[in-house]
């Protein structure tokens, strides 16, 4: 989707790079962050339209971060991703009511579709 900005927040740098490049290829502006604090800073500062957040990060829990984003003066939609596809994590994310949950490994098509749906 042209002109929209996504931010990818995950502690795995190479993974973040690959996903960012992927979004850039499909005409998004992609921002990168390796932790919750860094991500939050970027969201506050830049005009970000949607955040893709990994649930298991050492410095901040992804669900917690999504909740913080929802409490911002200008909240944005969040997509939580996790390699842990157990029902507990899914339930936890849904219970937080902060957004969508996608299990890793991410399907590129599904990811694009979800992001465009969320921005619509």
């Amino acid at each position: 989707m042209a002109g929209k900005t996504v931010i990818i927040i995950d502690d795995d740098r190479s993974f973040v790079d690959a996903v960012a490049e992927f979004f850039e290829e499909f005409d998004y502006r992609a921002l990168k962050a390796n932790g919750g604090c860094e991500g939050l800073g970027l969201i506050r500062r830049d005009g970000v339209d949607v955040a893709i957040i990994d649930v298991n990060m050492p410095d901040m829990d992804g669900v917690e971060l999504a909740r913080k984003i929802a409490e911002l003066p200008q909240p944005i939609p969040t997509i939580l991703i996790s390699s842990d596809d157990s029902t507990e994590t899914a339930d936890r994310c849904r219970a937080a009511g902060t957004g969508i949950f996608l299990a890793k490994p991410l399907d590129p098509e599904v990811l694009l579709e979800t992001v465009s749906r969320v921005l619509a």
């Binding site: 690959a18 996903v19 992927f22 290829e25 490994p105 991410l106 590129p108």
Partner: protein, 475 residues
């Protein structure tokens, strides 16, 4: 491994053996002491009794009922009838008493427990060497072969009235009989000692057996715990490994999507070959991702989430999920659930069973490239289990391959990783179920799965599972 236990076990055994040795030694020592004392104690007792009896007779002689107070030999002779019963009674009181008699000062037996001995003169050795003074005091004399009774101890008590020696009462104790009685008591003491030793040994054996059992089961628990810890370690490694692999694989997938899109823009015929290459690359990535997922399941048989659920509902769930995809491959899905199996519950990892069913369905799909039918059936075998069948009308599997179908990494397909059915077998068997496969080349393959029935409200936690709360499914 059990090195921590061995010193303890040895110490226990040592203490046990020492304990028994001490008890045995104590028992034997006590027995010896007691035995040693028996002789003197018994003799003292016999002596006291003898003199007591003699006093009794003397008193009777001195103050008899109906006898004159001034006694003469003639009077006593006449009184034998009165005395004899008493003497006889005393004589039979104890087996060690051989005679009781009343003797005149000049040695004539006036009364005797054996009537036939009356009026006999006592042999000189009985009192020949004694002085008059001795006659007036109670005395004890050891005699040899007298009256044919073997060795005797003669107890004598004088009957004195106003310092006049009227008579002497004698009581004979058989030495052999006394010795026999003493020996009897000694042997019963030894018997007691032997019994105590035997008892201690028996107790020790039982205690040793119990201790051995306890130590062994403690060791088994320790081993099981170590194994569980080890499994947990291995599991953590597996988790870590898979996690490390997953992200790069995912990244590769993203990169493939990017490259494909770039190629789309250029879109020259020469690039078609490159696009095809990418497709193959993507297929490899997907294959590796599936392997990672499957391996994670395979490597962690001890972790899972057990819950109670309606099997029929899961089947319907899976059928609805598969139908669209199967229809695209010209495959009809028939689901036949018998009425008595509609509400029946099972207790196991629902997610894993779902994976098993999807695996089998995928195998069936691959076996029917030109379409066909996949029949899924569920029936309840009352009091036994739930019986599930998944039958396809595909190409079938030959008998020689059929025996290996549950082996890990064995596959009849070019693109399979061969873990599907071995995982299925693990999952089903972990739930105490059974899985089997039959096939006919050209006709089709049938997979049979039997799962135990679960009663509503029954709780169950696998001993090696981390405490997972069983969920009650909305019935």
């Amino acid at each position: 491994m059990g090195t921590k236990r061995d010193p303890l076990k040895n110490r226990l055994l040592l203490v046990g053996v020492a304990g028994v040795a001490v008890v045995a030694a104590l028992a034997l020592a006590t027995a010896e002491l007691a035995v040693g004392k028996i002789g003197p104690i018994e003799r003292d007792r016999v002596r006291a009794n003898a003199f007591h009896r003699l006093e009794h007779v003397r008193d009777r002689v001195l103050h008899p009922d109906g006898l004159p107070s001034r006694l003469t030999t003639d009077a006593i002779l006449e009184a034998n009838e009165a005395l004899h019963p008493l003497l006889q009674r005393i004589a039979v009181e104890s087996s060690v008493y051989t005679y009781v008699m009343v003797v005149s000062p000049n040695g004539i037996i006036l009364a005797h427990s054996k009537e036939t001995q009356v009026r006999t003169t006592l042999p000189a050795e009985v009192f020949g060497h004694l002085t008059l003074a001795d006659h007036l005091e109670p005395r004890e004399t050891a005699l040899d072969s007298w009256f044919g009774g073997g060795k005797i101890i003669d107890f004598a008590m004088p009957v004195v009235l106003d310092q006049e020696h009227l008579a002497t009462v004698h009581l004979g104790v058989s030495q052999p009989e006394l010795a026999r009685r003493i020996a009897e008591q000694q042997s019963s003491i030894y018997k007691w000692a032997k019994f105590t030793v035997a008892g201690s040994v028996a107790v020790l054996c039982v205690a040793a057996l119990v201790a051995w059992r306890l130590i062994r089961s403690a060791r088994e628990v320790e081993v099981a715990e170590r194994r569980h810890d080890h499994l947990a370690e291995v599991g953590k490694l597996a988790d870590g490994l898979v996690h490390e692999i997953r992200n790069p694989l995912n990244a590769m997938r993203m990169q493939v999507a990017v490259i494909r899109n770039q190629l789309k823009k250029l879109d020259e015929p020469a690039l078609e070959a490159t696009k095809a290459q990418l497709e193959r690359l993507e297929a490899e990535v997907l294959r590796l991702q599936d392997l990672a997922t499957d391996f994670l399941t395979f490597g962690r048989p001890d972790v899972g989430h057990t819950e109670q659920f309606t099997l029929a509902e899961l089947l319907r769930d899976v059928a609805n999920f598969l139908r669209p995809e199967l229809e695209q491959s010209q495959i009809r899905l028939d689901l036949d659930i018998e009425s008595d199996a509609q509400q029946t519950l099972v207790r196991m990892d629902r997610g894993k069973l779902r994976q098993v069913l999807l695996n089998i369905a995928t195998n069936a799909e691959h076996a029917m490239p030109d379409g066909g039918t996949l029949s899924v059936g569920l029936s309840k075998r009352e009091g036994r289990d739930l019986h599930m069948t998944l039958s396809d009308s595909g190409c079938g599997i030959s008998q020689d391959k059929l025996t290996r179908v549950f082996d890990a990494f064995f596959s009849t397909k070019d693109e399979g990783n061969g873990l599907g059915l071995s995982i299925a077998k693990q999952i089903v068997e972990a739930a105490d179920g059974t899985i089997g496969i039959t096939s006919e080349v050209g006709r089709g393959t049938t997979v049979d799965i039997n799962l135990p029935l679960s009663r509503p409200g029954k709780s169950g936690v696998h001993p090696l599972q981390p405490a997972a709360e069983p969920n009650e499914v909305d019935a």
